[in-house]
């Protein structure tokens, strides 16, 4: 892999991404959905007479959970679609003949997708936080006049939850690229990523303890939970949240080697694949 080839691939990849409308979906959709959800909750609280206490941080983390889950699913699907559609359209053919190797194409896609996903999560975080601040007061959790958990502790928990939720991101994108190179068409790649993503999400509890050795157990998900989900309960004033240090350790250790494994497996497959 040459530096020139990778640089060319990165420029080509960003050129296509910024010329397409999909970039707006990737960057704006999760934030939009999170704002809509928070707006609906606020509306529902008002119509119920305003008796429900406004624990702002709880709604904030709830919004973040939804938008992060959506971001993960979007990027899993887009990374699967990205290479497969280039193959369908024959764009990869031209690139490998002209100036970019197969490995450079995959590496560039991986880097660009990772950066875009991080930007998307940053936008989501800022927008959701701002919206929650506008809709509710972001203060400590108070029950019967006593402060149960203060703002610095809440922020610390949210920060830890976000860090732990971010760690599986590279593995998730690598999984999407893996689906992309083993699929024959873009439609097959998307179906595979949506199907496998959701099936993994639903079935991971059946793996019992082994589920903690699969990176997707730690990413925000539709059917199960990550630490971010526990944070949501903590900052909403629930006292039954159990923090398992072992699971936190696995959350930090498991996703990175799995991301590397999936990425190198993808590079190995692409080397031999017919284009």
């Amino acid at each position: 892999m040459s530096r020139t080839g990778l640089f060319t691939a990165l420029r080509a990849e960003s050129f296509i991404l910024f010329k397409s409308r999909i970039i707006w979906v990737l960057l704006a959709l999760p934030s939009l959905v999170s704002i809509i959800k928070m707006g609906l909750i606020k509306f529902s609280n008002i119509t119920k007479g305003g008796n429900i206490p406004d624990t702002g941080y709880g709604y904030l983390v709830d919004g973040l959970l939804l938008s992060f889950t959506l971001t993960y699913l979007l990027f899993l699907c887009y990374s699967a679609y990205s290479f497969a559609i280039d193959c369908d359209r024959g764009i990869t053919r031209n690139n490998v003949i002209r100036s970019i190797s197969r490995k450079e194409i995959i590496s560039a896609k991986y880097i660009i997708l990772l950066i875009t996903a991080l930007v998307s999560l940053l936008i989501t975080l800022s927008v959701t936080w701002a919206a929650a601040g506008l809709l509710w007061e972001l203060g400590p959790v108070i029950e019967e006049g006593y402060q149960i958990i203060g703002v610095p502790e809440i922020k610390e928990e949210i920060s830890l939850g976000l860090k732990l939720a971010l760690i599986p991101l590279p593995a998730s994108i690598a999984l999407g690229l893996f689906f992309s190179v083993i699929s024959k068409t873009a439609i097959q790649a998307i179906s595979l990523s949506v199907g496998a993503g959701l099936i993994l999400d639903v079935l991971k509890t059946f793996f019992e303890n082994f589920q903690y050795y699969i990176f997707s157990s730690f990413q925000p998900s539709f059917f199960d939970n990550s630490y971010l989900n526990d944070v949501q309960r903590i900052v909403s004033g629930y006292s039954d949240v159990l923090i398992d240090e072992r699971i936190h350790r696995l959350n930090m250790l498991v996703p990175v080697p799995e991301a590397l494994f999936l990425f190198f497996l993808t590079l190995t497959i692409i080397k031999r694949r017919n284009l």
Partner: protein, 309 residues
């Protein structure tokens, strides 16, 4: 890398099979620098598969392929000296023509690319520069695809079915462009097509791909020398003409009904000599048309099939 070697493409004993179906059975092909080489074959003969193996897009069972002394899997290292235009235009449909050209400029790998505006003018796509690719006709998509291939000033270009979906004007422009690039820049071309009359017009060399092998690989002049010249004669005395012709050495009468004239094959006799002979027998010759052997006739003889013209 030997930039001055005579051959830009050497394919030796290339085998390719899809499951149990052998598509290429020991194909040998050599394209020399500055040639315009035509690769012809029936539908399904393996022209596109050959191109895909040459371009490193498909693996092959055995054999050797060198493109400008580079293995197909490393063609990206050629720095844009090699380009392929596939039968289906490979362009991002949501880009405009100008953006597609900018993308090609980004990825061409050349240090001295051609200016985008120059190419757009040359290929007749300047008018459509703001149009999205998905809104263009297939012909204009093909022109854009060819313009993309030319942006890096490649030394060797493979065009798969270059004339399909082009109108008559487009074909003439493309033929002119290929000739000009070949003459002025020394660009070598391999044109895979079954549009034989166009290939006949432009190619310096022809290879016929049949049953997974190159059955014939010759220069166009050699190809035309392979068959006897034919002539069609119309006179005032048909019966007398047939009688005279049967007595002239070097002339064989074709078995036809002579409804559009008498067709003969000439061997060792020119049309001028034939004309003189007929006049000397007091036969008035209204028409004497010399028919050059065509690529089509050689192709049919080898493949036993018809090319789609």
């Amino acid at each position: 890398m030997d930039h001055n070697s005579r051959s830009v493409l050497t394919v030796t004993d290339l085998h390719k099979k899809f499951k149990k179906n052998h598509v290429l059975n020991g194909l040998n092909l050599e394209v020399a620098r500055n040639e315009i080489h035509g690769l012809v074959g029936l539908n399904g003969a393996g022209k596109t598969t050959t191109i895909e193996c040459i371009s490193g897009l498909k693996s092959f069972s055995s054999g050797s392929v060198r493109v400008m002394d580079i293995h197909p899997s490393n063609l990206h290292s050629a720095g844009g000296r090699f380009a392929v235009v596939f039968d289906t235009p490979c362009i991002h449909p949501n880009l405009t023509v100008h953006e597609a050209m900018e993308y090609a400029l980004l990825t061409c790998g050349s240090k001295e690319p051609v200016s985008i505006n120059e190419l757009e003018e040359k290929l007749g796509i300047a008018l459509y520069r703001k149009y999205k690719i998905k809104n263009l006709s297939l012909g204009n998509r093909r022109r854009t695809s060819i313009a993309q291939a030319l942006i890096g000033r490649p030394e060797f270009i493979i065009l798969d079915e270059p004339f399909s979906s082009l109108d008559a004007g487009g074909v003439d422009d493309l033929i002119e462009l290929i000739r000009e690039l070949n003459k002025n820049s020394g660009t070598t071309f391999l044109l895979a097509s079954h549009q034989l009359p166009y290939l006949e017009k432009i190619c310096t060399n022809i290879s016929i791909l049949h049953k997974g092998l190159i059955s014939l690989s010759v220069s166009i002049n050699e190809l035309f020398g392979m068959e006897n010249t034919k002539a069609v004669i119309n006179t005032d005395k048909k019966e007398r003409t047939l009688e005279v012709l049967s007595g002239i050495p070097g002339i064989s009468l074709n078995n036809n009904n002579h409804s559009e004239g008498i067709t003969v094959e000439l061997s060792g006799i020119t049309t001028a000599q034939l004309n003189r002979e007929l006049i000397s027998h007091d036969i008035n010759v209204y028409e004497l048309i010399r028919k050059r052997p065509s690529l089509d006739s050689v192709f049919r003889k080898i493949t036993g099939g018809t090319a789609h013209v």
